[in-house]
Assembly symmetry: C2
Homo-oligomer: 198 residues x 2
């Protein structure tokens, strides 16, 4: 089974309340649809800060949600000197704190900073068609000079989905993958359950 890749750059999801605090307005403007139905790139950007370390121009992804979440790569985490956990989107309880700075204000989030779990957006119908129960993890084989296997990928099952493997920029760059490239779905190696260090 061949599956398309989408590389997610660092981005933030915001509540209406926090968006208003940072931008002084209520409406988030769409500039471009993203691969998943209903999701869009806005023209609103924040800076994210921890201590004296800062990363500018982090895009707000719409629509606004009922939680605040900042998804970064390990490269970003090293730059910010933070150590966020690997989490599924929305699972932000006891994740890392981060400061958001917008044009009209700033907010210190007590939690919400994560590295995203590798995940595949898929519908219930597609899951059934391909013989998965949606609970097992899977892996993908990546061909090319910088090839290999990316393991421990979860399914994110939604009513509407564009079948895509979402990776962060570190994963994309390590395997020389760009959005739109194709990889082969295979069984998980179980590398997250092995005892050996790393």
């Amino acid at each position: 089974m061949i599956i398309k890749v989408g590389i997610s750059n660092r981005h933030v999801h915001l509540t209406k309340e926090i968006y208003f605090k940072l931008f002084g307005k209520e409406e988030l403007e769409k500039v471009r649809d993203l691969d998943q139905p209903g999701q869009y790139a806005s023209n609103s950007f924040v800076s994210i800060r921890s201590g004296s370390r800062i990363i500018d121009n982090v895009r707000v992804v719409g629509p606004l949600r009922n939680y605040n979440q900042v998804e970064i790569s390990r490269t970003d985490a090293i730059k910010l000197k933070v150590n966020p956990p690997v989490r599924d989107s929305g699972d932000i309880s006891h994740s890392a704190p981060i400061i958001l700075i917008g044009p009209k204000g700033s907010v210190a989030l007590p939690e919400g900073l994560i590295l995203a779990t590798r995940h595949i957006h898929i519908t219930k119908e597609e899951l059934k068609k391909y013989g998965f129960d949606g609970k097992q993890k899977v892996a993908v084989l990546v061909n090319g000079e910088k090839g290999g296997i990316i393991d421990n990928i979860k399914f994110k099952v939604l009513d509407t989905a564009f079948l895509t493997l979402h990776l962060d920029t570190d994963e994309g760059n390590a395997f020389d993958l760009q959005s739109g490239d194709e990889v082969t779905l295979i069984k998980s190696l179980g590398s997250d359950t092995n005892e050996i260090k790393k």
Copy 2:
């Protein structure tokens, strides 16, 4: 077979002539030994530039060599808007151009910018002991939440070597590996020879 990992940050190797042009002196000062015998971190840093894009504080690794080479990650390449080839160290013919800026001068290298091939430093004796001929590629299994398999790793056979898998920062960060972590050597997947896109 378990093998230690070393993560190489972006760095440059210089000839005596180019070092002199950039720094106005002949001697490169050691501040710290690196994992491979005889190799050391110096206290000399250059900026690397392509067009208007620049990355500062790139360390010169000693000793000085008979060629000039700049090793960066794909993340760096995207920042610089360049597209260097994946190459073994020393194989710089027709690699990408780059500008080096030192405290005493700057130099436009017509070639020398590469992404490093994933490689294992090993002695002839160790190769023999583990049953490799040194020509085949290998892979490693990485355990952990961000685990998987890193394929297409070459052996770099030297008279003296500290047995280590050298990866760049993108590869380290994608797999949550730090220098000193351990991975398991396995057979190559052959992912660099497959026809499927990526």
